[in-house]
């Protein structure tokens, strides 16, 4: 078991990601941050708070998206659906998808499909906390990365949050 990010490092990383997103975002009012259920929303909740703290006047929209019904592995595993809450139009907006770990890329593929059912965004970007390099099964890459790691197939990355666990921590085991 190896700690990838401690609580302090995680806080700094999230601040950095928030700054990078704003730096790259000339028009926050036409930008939406969308967290992917279930685990991406812990990160996206922190990110949107951070972004609103840095730029209190920024009118960036925030939503959460569940991709259960768009998965390509319904045949092998039935997952419980979670809430989706996108109370705004994404038509012609810039959308930043947020998830905790980018691994095979299949979740993001499903999220892109789900997103298109809400409208046609002008641009879609991807923000992840942990990028597991060299394990992609689809041609999907992040635009904002908390930390890139090299891991083997049998290893697991666990992102723990104070909200659902003891403390903020990212571990590899």
């Amino acid at each position: 078991m190896k700690t990838i990010l401690t609580s302090n490092q995680l806080a700094i990383t999230i601040k950095r990601l928030a700054h990078q997103i704003l730096e790259n975002c000339p028009d926050p009012a036409n930008t939406c941050l969308i967290g992917i259920q279930p685990r991406g929303i812990w990160l996206s909740n922190r990110l949107i708070n951070e972004i609103r703290a840095i730029q209190p006047a920024s009118a960036m929209k925030y939503g959460i998206l569940d991709i259960t019904f768009y998965r390509d592995d319904v045949r092998s595993e039935l997952k419980v659906a979670n809430q989706t809450e996108i109370n705004f139009s994404i038509e012609n907006k810039k959308v930043i998808l947020v998830d905790d770990v980018l691994y095979t890329g299949r979740t993001i593929r499903a999220a892109l499909d789900a997103l298109m059912d809400f409208g046609r965004p002008a641009q879609v970007e991807l923000c992840v906390l942990i990028d597991r390099r060299f394990s992609r099964e689809l041609p999907i890459q992040p635009d904002y990365t908390g930390k890139s790691i090299d891991s083997i197939l049998t290893q697991k990355v666990q992102v723990a949050w104070a909200e659902n666990s003891e403390k903020d921590e990212v571990i590899l085991f």
């Binding site: 569940d66 595993e77 659906a81």
Partner: protein, 312 residues
């Protein structure tokens, strides 16, 4: 996370956790139905046949919409105009359809137990869309979903089922479901339309005075007088039924609380429900219909997922 049964033959076979899972999944599907694109690709490779041996408007359209919103392929079969009139048996008809690689069967039949019989002989998952005077499970699930939406939960809530209890599969499914989920249930109507065994079998209250039932309940689920299932005269006339047991506006106005009025449809206006009640703000009849699609999507999705995992 999956259902404990392979088929949905009746609420009788479901565990409370199954009902909870279906209702929770339906909540998510209801959100899907508000999206600009009201469709998800979940059942893209599943073929479903809708086998209707008995007339239906709402249930058939609702199932077909649910299947299409899940991207399943659908075939509609109605007994009239098919080889059933040439004498083909139910099992032969279904086996012929299944040999064309159909994964699920949604079925309505006038004989109680028809889907149960079929489930013993075919491999496909079966969803009962109403069998005779036995059960109509998806109606009970959508009723429960609608009550939950209005009152927050089912536990401890007072539900009065009013009308033709004896001939109603909706009543039976509702009784099973509401009792399993911890609701308090009262059946009300003319003594000739309430079987005497119900009180003991389901531990429900029986009331022959509709106004008293309304004063007791949080939700009144009014059932249709099923003229087509009555061979003997159980009340003297429709007019008299309306006078004694029909829901009228002034009955609701007299109560010192606001109750919700449900009806599985089709309504006999002026018999069990007066028009000014059916069209009032307290009536959630059209919301029931709307919720029906989401609930049926949940049932099909959960059964199809189960079907696929057991095969692989």
């Amino acid at each position: 996370m999956r259902l404990s049964t392979k088929h949905l033959l009746g609420i009788r076979d479901l565990a409370p956790s199954d009902i909870q899972l279906i209702l929770d999944t339906a909540t998510q599907f209801k959100e899907v139905l508000q999206r600009p694109v009201k469709k998800v690709p979940s059942l893209r490779d599943i073929t479903i046949v809708n086998l209707f041996y008995e007339n239906s408007t709402r249930t058939r359209i609702s199932f077909e919409l649910a299947e299409k919103r899940l991207s399943a392929d659908t075939i509609n079969f109605t007994a009239s105009g098919s080889s059933v009139s040439k004498g083909e048996t139910l099992l032969d008809t279904v086996n012929n359809i299944l040999s064309m690689k159909v994964d699920m069967v949604v079925m309505r039949h006038s004989a109680s137990g028809a889907p149960h019989f079929l489930s013993k002989h075919i491999p496909a998952a079966i969803v009962n869309a109403g069998d005779g005077i036995n059960e109509h499970p998806t109606q009970a699930l959508l009723d429960a979903f609608s009550i939950r939406e209005k009152l927050g939960s089912l536990e401890g809530k007072k539900i009065a089922i009013i009308g033709d209890i004896m001939h109603s599969r909706v009543a039976l499914s509702n009784l099973y479901l509401l009792k399993k989920m911890g609701a308090e249930v009262m059946v009300a109507g003319p003594p000739t339309l309430i079987p005497t065994y119900l009180k003991e079998a389901f531990d429900v209250q029986v009331e022959y005075n509709v106004e008293k039932a309304l004063a007791w309940c949080d939700v009144a689920n009014v059932l249709r007088i099923q003229l087509e299932r009555q061979n003997q005269v159980l009340f003297s006339s429709l007019r008299e039924y309306n006078l004694a047991y029909g829901l009228k506006k002034d009955m609701l106005a007299k109560l010192n609380k606001e109750i919700f009025v449900m009806h599985p449809g089709p309504i006999n206006r002026g018999v069990e429900l007066d028009s000014d009640v059916a069209d009032s703000g307290q009536s959630i009849i059209l919301q029931q219909v709307e919720n029906g699609v989401a609930v049926r999507m949940a049932v099909l999705y959960l059964l199809a997922g189960r079907e696929m995992t057991t095969q692989s």
